[in-house]
């Protein structure tokens, strides 16, 4: 048993002077293990929706205040809160939960402009920003501001009004918070200034039956699971590469294999990128 384990990690004549774990077949098996883990996560999300998910402390008021703060930083006038735009934003978020999609255009062919029209908002110009899986408003706003297209909406001098929806629900079996910003300038030129306090984060009933939602603090983040499994995998391979390379170097072993130095460099880079991969995405 111990000898077999040793051959898995240590180069030896019995494993052709290459740790078994670093041989292409073993690496392919590791890909299989990772894919199996992902399939398990997806199956679990389908069977027990609402257990995996992302908690959030984002509120409409915070998103509204920070959006206007960004405009103030650019010397632009404040956007006024419009309840009709807020309703169209909420309808968009509910539609994404209901039909399980994450995009500006729905699978049923609805564009963002259809939601503006359905809510009764006549506009000269309009725009939409989407976000999901973010924990706090600061991170969310900095994500939007880092993206040129989303930033263009937030600090556009064309817009006079905004409506925001922060809706909790279950998307593809994963509990999350969707944030929708709808920007516009009214066709009639009458800019409203509705109170933001009337709009609070809402809870969307999932289209999937039998959802047992855990409290936000108990949610298990699928991003974190994927990240940890990936890091452990890469960590083990990097460690074995170091040992394998060191022993081959000190024993002066001649062998036909890939460059351990190159592999270590490549995997360390991917390892670093995985560590810094962020939870939350924008569209």
């Amino acid at each position: 048993m111990f000898r077999k384990l040793k051959l898995l990690f240590i180069p030896h004549p019995a494993n052709n002077h290459r740790a078994i774990l670093l041989q292409p077949l073993s690496l392919a098996l590791l890909i299989g293990v990772y894919l199996l883990n992902q399939s398990f996560l997806r199956a679990f999300a389908a069977v027990r929706p609402g257990v995996l998910g992302y908690s959030s402390e984002i509120t409409i008021q915070k998103v509204f205040d920070q959006t206007n703060q960004q405009r103030a930083n650019e010397g632009l006038p404040q956007l006024k809160f419009n309840s009709t735009l807020a309703k169209s934003a909420e309808a968009k978020a509910n539609d994404m939960f209901q039909y399980n999609y994450w995009a500006h255009n729905s699978p049923q062919g609805k564009s963002p402009w259809d939601f503006f029209k359905s809510a009764g908002y006549q506009y000269v110009t309009a725009g939409e920003n989407l976000a999901r899986d973010f924990y706090d408003t600061d991170t969310l706003l900095s994500a939007w501001m880092k993206s040129p297209t989303h930033r263009a909406n937030i600090v556009s001098p064309k817009y006079q009004e905004i409506g925001i929806a922060v809706v909790n629900g279950t998307l593809n079996g994963v509990k999350t918070t969707l944030v929708v910003q709808h920007f516009g300038t009214p066709l009639d030129g009458l800019v409203r200034d509705d109170p933001v306090q009337n709009f609070v984060a809402s809870e969307q009933e999932s289209a999937v039956q039998g959802v047992v939602s855990l409290p936000a603090s108990n949610l298990i983040s699928p991003h974190q699971i994927s990240q940890i499994v990936g890091l452990v995998l890469f960590g083990i391979i990097i460690g074995v590469l170091f040992v394998d390379g060191y022993l081959a170097l000190t024993r002066k072993t001649q062998r036909f294999t890939g460059s351990n130095t190159g592999h270590i460099g490549f995997l360390i880079i991917i390892f670093i990128l995985l560590i810094f991969s962020q939870q939350g995405s924008i569209f």
């Binding site: 890909i31 991003h223 890939g258």
Partner: protein, 89 residues
């Protein structure tokens, strides 16, 4: 200390230097696209493809470009792509 530096680096310093610069560029691009998971995934795909191309050139120059070696690089690149595909969403 010198005996701990792999012979291949001493023999092909510019190839390894170009690889290091390429990886540095990949890290810069990744952070440039923070919160843009689509672009970050593309950075990982591009880095993996670049590493695969580098391996072809490197082993061709070393004179040991064999199918088994190419497959080793291919599987490592595939592993990076698969993990990125599911983590950067």
């Amino acid at each position: 200390m010198k005996h701990l530096i792999p012979k291949q680096i001493i023999e092909h310093p510019f190839e390894y230097l170009s690889l290091a610069l390429f990886f540095g560029g990949a890290v810069f691009a990744f952070f440039f696209f923070t919160y843009d998971a689509h672009s970050q995934r593309r950075v990982v795909y591009f880095t993996s493809a670049g590493y695969l191309l580098w391996s072809l050139y490197h082993h061709y120059r070393r004179g040991d470009l064999h199918l088994s070696i190419f497959i080793e690089y291919l599987v490592l690149a595939a592993l990076a792509i698969v993990v990125a595909l599911f983590t950067l969403v």
